[in-house]
């Protein structure tokens, strides 16, 4: 294996070998490529790369030190193009001084995992994030009312942390809950077009989200409820999200399919968050 390296300094061959064995034994990776371009990403040919069972390309860059700005180009390209890549830096174990900690922090901020290798012991100091998922616009939690900030931050963490379906689902939960509350409270306050009814025409908490939203499209008059932005197009947008509500993360066929899937999820997550913001703003005067 050592002879296969053309760029890696010979003093780091053993570190590369330990890292390879670690990913084979502990994480089930196999068929490593050595020093080849990955998905045509610019800025780096990682020392080792292999495709995991979720069709992400796991890259292991073997270096003496953890971080250098030359890695930024690769990270940026992966994020911008949504490339389904995880990058780990494997370094020889060293004294954990201030410079080391600063390097680990910087790598971590960029979604890079860090492995420390000493003899046959490999320690994961930081886990890598899926770079295809970390390129989302950060949540401006302050722009939301207090009660949404926690859930939105958690949703973003879930998304960036490798569970994009769960992250999307958490945002959908908030939109659905707000839609149901809107329906219930406007009905109770007699603000529907059909006027004050004695019995609600649907079960606000139990009927499907789609049914509740379709009822709102029929019954809500933006002017009557004093919410001019609570428009049909907004409800239409919410209805557009409903089919994705209960989607589970299904297996993808290959890395290209993973790339496409993550791009869809990224768009969906950002879109759902924007829809939630629009709905929150549109219903603000109702004090739901």
């Amino acid at each position: 294996m050592a002879n296969a390296y053309g760029i890696l300094d010979p003093s780091l061959f053993s570190i590369a070998e330990q890292a390879r064995q670690y990913f084979t034994k502990k994480r089930g990776l196999g068929s490593f490529n050595i020093e080849v371009p990955v998905l045509d990403a610019s800025g780096l040919r990682p020392t080792l790369s292999a495709v995991d069972s979720d069709k992400y390309v796991v890259c292991i860059e073997v270096r003496e030190t953890i971080y250098h700005p030359a890695l930024d180009t690769f990270i940026l390209d992966c994020k911008n193009r949504g490339l389904p890549i995880k990058l780990y830096i494997a370094v020889p174990a060293s004294k954990e001084d201030a410079a080391f900690k600063a390097d680990v922090r910087r790598a971590s901020e960029n979604g890079i995992g860090v492995l420390s290798v000493e003899d046959s012991r490999v320690q994961a100091i930081r886990e890598a994030l899926y770079l295809s998922l970390t390129g989302i616009r950060p949540v401006d939690a302050d722009a939301f009312p207090r009660r949404y900030r926690g859930p939105l931050t958690e949703a973003e963490e879930a998304f960036r942390g490798g569970n994009p379906v769960k992250g999307c689902g958490m945002v959908f939960d908030e939109i659905e809950a707000l839609t149901r509350t809107l329906a219930k409270k406007t009905f109770n306050r007699g603000l529907w077009r059909s006027g004050k009814l004695t019995k609600p025409p649907l079960r606000f908490d139990k009927d499907s989200w789609q049914l509740v939203t379709e009822k709102l499209v029929e019954e809500i008059d933006p002017q009557k409820v004093g919410c001019p932005n609570l428009t049909r197009p907004l409800f239409g947008t919410i209805l557009g999200l409903v089919p994705h509500r209960n989607e589970s993360g299904h297996k993808v066929r290959d890395t290209q399919a993973r790339l496409k899937r993550d791009a869809e999820l990224r768009t969906r997550f950002e879109h759902a968050r924007d829809v939630l913001k629009s709905l929150v703003d549109a219903t603000k005067s109702l004090r739901l």
Binding site: D9, E35, G43, L44, T65, H68
Partner: protein, 319 residues
């Protein structure tokens, strides 16, 4: 004409290039490579590398760092000056001469290739090349060639250790080429001046091991101390009993806590001091004898008065 056929400047695929097995340079420091990679990412490869054609591929003559970095940052092609295939000797000498223009190689990398240069030069000249021949062919100063030869006298395990050290950033290195060169020079002096102290290769190797350990443990504080070791070996020059010097050196090579400074103080320190004073005094007397008092300014007179006072006090003290 394809890139593979032409001679001149061309963009060549980085994957179509092989490193030159004769490149003396074996250490490529991470920090240097990182900085170059960053520059290549920002500005591209500004200076073409040099290659020659070997069947359908290319072999590097100059620019291994640029080529490595270009591959590392995933460039597809690199600008290259394609040259005719050189003879084995010219191949090696061309790299020496190019690199002596660019930057200083580690001495060990040069040393490692010198035997091959010498061998190929012997074939070309039909005689063993002199130091001057090697210097002219490689563009290296003769002093550098001598230093390389001292390194080559080291047993292989020290050369391996030194190579490992060279891969580290400078502040993290325990041993340097200079350390081994200073040590080897001193041991050579011991061998020449007091052959009974190091009368076999085994003893010389034991002495090396002892000195390396002492340096590692701080018993020897500075590699310059090896010059004092050589002075102890040259005890005869200052009329000190050579058997005393030999005993001190034997102790130096066996007793773990005995330092070079102690060996120097126990043997030749005062003799060298006396010789130093005598030499300086003789020179000063010679100078003063030729002086006209009117040539001296106030500062010089003040200095001489101070000297006279110190000399008088020293003589009185001895009395």
């Amino acid at each position: 004409m394809s890139a593979a056929e032409q001679v001149g400047l061309a963009d060549i695929e980085v994957d179509n290039i092989d490193r030159n097995p004769d490149n003396p340079r074996v250490v490529f420091r991470q920090r240097e490579l990182d900085d170059l990679a960053e520059s290549i990412l920002s500005n591209g490869v500004l200076q073409p590398i040099s290659v020659y054609r070997e069947k359908d591929r290319f072999v590097l003559i100059d620019g291994e760092r640029r080529w490595r970095c270009s591959r590392k940052v995933n460039l597809r092609t690199i600008p290259a000056l394609i040259q005719p295939k050189p003879s084995p000797l010219d191949n090696l000498l061309m790299m020496f001469n190019i690199h002596s223009l660019h930057q200083q190689w580690d001495l060990l990398t040069i040393a490692n290739k010198l035997p091959r240069v010498t061998e190929l030069l012997s074939d070309r000249l039909s005689k063993p090349p002199s130091e001057k021949d090697v210097a002219e062919a490689t563009g290296l100063p003769r002093a550098v060639i001598r230093r390389c030869r001292l390194l080559l006298d080291l047993p292989q395990h020290y050369l391996d250790e030194l190579l490992d050290e060279l891969k580290k950033p400078k502040p993290m290195r325990r041993f340097t080429e200079d350390f081994f060169i200073e040590m080897e020079r001193a041991l050579k002096t011991v061998q020449n001046a007091l052959p009974q102290v190091l009368d076999s290769e085994e003893k010389k190797e034991q002495a090396r091991a002892a000195l390396v350990e002492k340096y590692d443990k701080g018993v020897i504080g500075n590699m310059v101390e090896f010059r004092q070791l050589a002075k102890v070996a040259r005890a005869k020059n200052v009329e000190v009993d050579t058997s005393m010097a030999a005993t001190a050196l034997k102790k130096l090579f066996t007793a773990p806590r005995y330092s070079i400074k102690q060996a120097y103080d126990d043997t030749v320190s005062s003799a060298y001091l006396e010789r130093d004073i005598s030499t300086r005094v003789s020179g000063l007397i010679e100078l003063l004898e030729d002086l006209n008092p009117n040539d001296l300014d106030d500062d010089a007179i003040l200095g001489l008065r101070r000297l006279a006072t110190l000399v008088a006090a020293l003589i009185r003290g001895r009395a």
